[in-house]
Amino acid sequence: MILIRRHLRPRPSLRQLHLPQSRVPLAVLPTFLVVHVTVILLAGSAAAQSTSLVPPPDPLRRVITRSVIERTGITRPGEIFDLLPEWDSWSTDGLHDRHRVSSLAPLRTDTFLLFIDGMRIDHDLLETRSLNLLPLTVAEIDSVEFIAYPALVAGTFAARGAVHIHTRRPGRGPEMTAALFAENETGDTGPWRYLEGRRQDVEHIGPEGEIVLGWGGERAWLRLAGLNRNHPVTDENIYSRTVALARELPVVTTRAANLRAHVEIGPSRHDVSASTQWGHDFLFHRGPGQEIAADTRLRQIGAAGTIPLTGSFGLRYRLGRSAGTIGSWAPLGGPNRELELDRRYLNIEFGNVIPAGGLCFGLTRETSTIGRGRDVQNDDHTESTLYISAHRLGSSRWSTDLDVAAVLRGRETRLSTNLQTCLQVIPNIWIRFAAAQTPVSFFSDHGYRYWTSNLEFDLLPVSLPGFTYYAGITDGCDHDALQSRLAAIDLALQANPTAGMTISGGFFHRQFTDLRLERYMSTDTTTKFGWAGCLPEAGWDGRLSGARGDLALDLNGRVSLSLAGEYRLRRRGFTARMRAIPRLIVTGRIEYVMHPTMTLALTGRYASRSAWTEYPPQPYDDPYQYSGMLITLPGMNDHPVLTLTAAKWFWDRRLRLVLVGRNLLNRTYRTHPAGAGFDLSLAARLELYLGRDR
């Protein structure tokens, strides 16, 4: 039920509601700043008539639609994260992006699950979570849904959130989309090479080519896509991190093809997808401490469908298989490490299959085999998930999500629950209760595991251009060897005093505690609201941790500004060493629609480089695994400071040219001759569409 509702009508975020500003009594607004509860009651009745049927928005969920992607000139899938101030995105080389929820997630959630049209994608096979390496083109994306809390998605309980990409259905008849993308970075030596005796050709991103063929009928559609991406590792600062002696051309390549088909037979719907992907990449090896060239291959095939049986009840199925191989190359040549992955899953649900919601029961069985190669231990396991999902939507009074999932792996059993209830107590006043409890992962292989639970209580008078209150408390405890405990508390306030303006503030604290050693392993305390600095005494343990500030402003979707600051003192591992991690994140975007076919967008994003610069990246987001091994290199973040995008449609919206000029800050931790913070790149994407859909 949840899947259908999310797929067909994702819940809008506060910024997407576009609630009428005129329905807000302006005189009430200043009062909010004094006594906000009073304002809720006063202003709530004033807007009672308009949007009472609108489901309550989820402040942790965002949906980026295709119109936004086109308007902002997104040229690569990973750039979508740049539109989300609440998500951190960083990179060590400008190509392999990593992302996480920056503030509200109770855990470090860069291990989110990825789904494409309800099919789970093993995008973490390459130990990176870059959407830029997916076998998916930008032209295929219809919308991207960001879920930053535990939820059941497509029969899989995503304990650390999920990113769900919904692809675009082809228009009627045949259609074709072809695109070319190339980027040029400054810093080449040019003629200086003959004087300096060295050559540097800084061309790291592109060229890329994509083609999408589609056909859409009344009850069926078909889409075939192929892409070819080449990313030369010619920047010596990136090249120096690699051991590329076994490869003459240090190029990261991705070639992929995917096929998706949809057919409706009577009331039933069926989807089939298949993709294959192969290429070369550089993966970090702990042995030499450098990145080593690797051949990668990944194939996925899947099917999903809905079969109504009687009334609103029916059957839903999903099955798929992923198989991949990584062969790494030693400095002296020849593969010295192989990693194979073979994952199969089957999911069957029975219950209500209508968007209005209902009750369903499901079973997911997943068999994974990781290993088999030399120097790699096998990790074979079969995991079964038995779940009940209940959802009620459409009532003007209440809405509920309930997920209960029991996961069995060998002799271990874990129980995950997620409950979200929104109740309209009086017109325009919603109460949301959200609770989740889940073990984050089976860590029995490493001798420990932990789980977390969340409890939130919100007031959501969403018919206003809105006030949102939420408070949460998270508590968890390890059971096994490490005897550690995770506890967190989250209290937040989000308000929209005028349409499009969002102010949020609150408090967040979490800590990992090693119960055996009676030592705090990691603590983070965050206060949210426009202030960054040390708190004299914060948190229930009375320890100084840090602070974070957030301020967001969004005017009619055209101008947005967000400001976030963090200052953290973090303990890592079993050492008592405290490390200060100050960080400042500023994002802003201005759009200017020069003509219905011409848009200019200026996006600014600055993130200081002190945080999340750990190298190598932690593949399992395990706070312990690489303790003591992490290296912090200066300036390894990849955050464009200024991005000026010009997107123009030609030929009756059949041809689109996107020019992107970027001013980069420390993209590859190199020191640019023009000075830090002044590095340029110019990218162009040319997209041709032939069809009848536009």
């Binding site: 040029n184 080449d188 003629p191 200086w192 003959y194 002044f678 340029l680 110019l682």
Partner: protein
């Protein structure tokens, strides 16, 4: 005149901002042409300012430039192709040819008549440097880099169709050691009515 590589060019930015501030009020009084209503094709020569010499290396020669411009939603856009050569000063170094494909945006600053006036703008180009280095592959012989910079143009109309344009610019080629240079071009242009199919395409 010798130009040494420099790291930052705040002067160029200041100049453009000043010119924009000056010209924007005047532009409001000027008659705004219909976007993509006409097409002006130009052909002319490019002259390096004072003869640019890269220290220890090359001397830029006079080149040629072909361009086409059309009214845009705001101002005028222009695409140009420039061919120049750099002759070696040291016999151990190779000559190289420079081909620059650039996009420019111009805004009218002063209009004396319908076809005579002063404009300012900004140009972004991709420069291909092809070194006369036999024995190497094309990939090793050719390099690409961005160049940006402000331009100032003076146009004199010759009747309804023909015009002369003097364009002066200052561009930075963003190599590992940026090359900052000034130049001017003199071009003869002819204004054509935009072909309907091309206008429909651009719109």
């Amino acid at each position: 005149m010798s130009f040494r590589p420099t790291h930052t060019r705040p002067g160029a930015l200041r100049l453009l901002l000043y010119l924009l501030c000056v010209c924007l009020p005047l532009e409001a009084h000027a008659q705004t042409p219909v976007p993509f209503s006409d097409l002006t094709l130009r052909l002319g020569g490019v002259f390096p300012g004072g003869g640019i010499t890269l220290p220890g290396g090359w001397d830029e020669q006079t080149g040629i430039e072909a361009s086409g411009s059309t009214p845009f939603y705001l101002g005028t856009i222009e695409a140009s192709l420039r061919l120049t050569t750099w002759e070696r000063l040291d016999p151990d170094l190779p000559d190289f040819a420079s081909r620059s494909l650039a996009l420019g945006w111009h805004l009218s600053l002063l209009s004396f008549t319908a076809r005579t006036g002063v404009s300012v703008g900004w140009r972004v180009g991709l420069v291909q440097m092809d070194f006369d280095d036999p024995g190497t592959t094309w990939h090793d012989r050719v390099d690409h880099e961005l160049e940006t910079g402000p331009v100032l143009g003076f146009t004199v109309g010759l009747g309804n169709e023909w015009e002369f344009r003097l364009l002066a610019g200052r561009t930075v080629l963003w190599l590992s050691e940026p090359i900052d240079r000034t130049w001017c071009s003199l071009a003869l242009g002819r204004r054509l009515r935009m072909p309907p199919w091309l206008r429909e395409f651009l719109q």
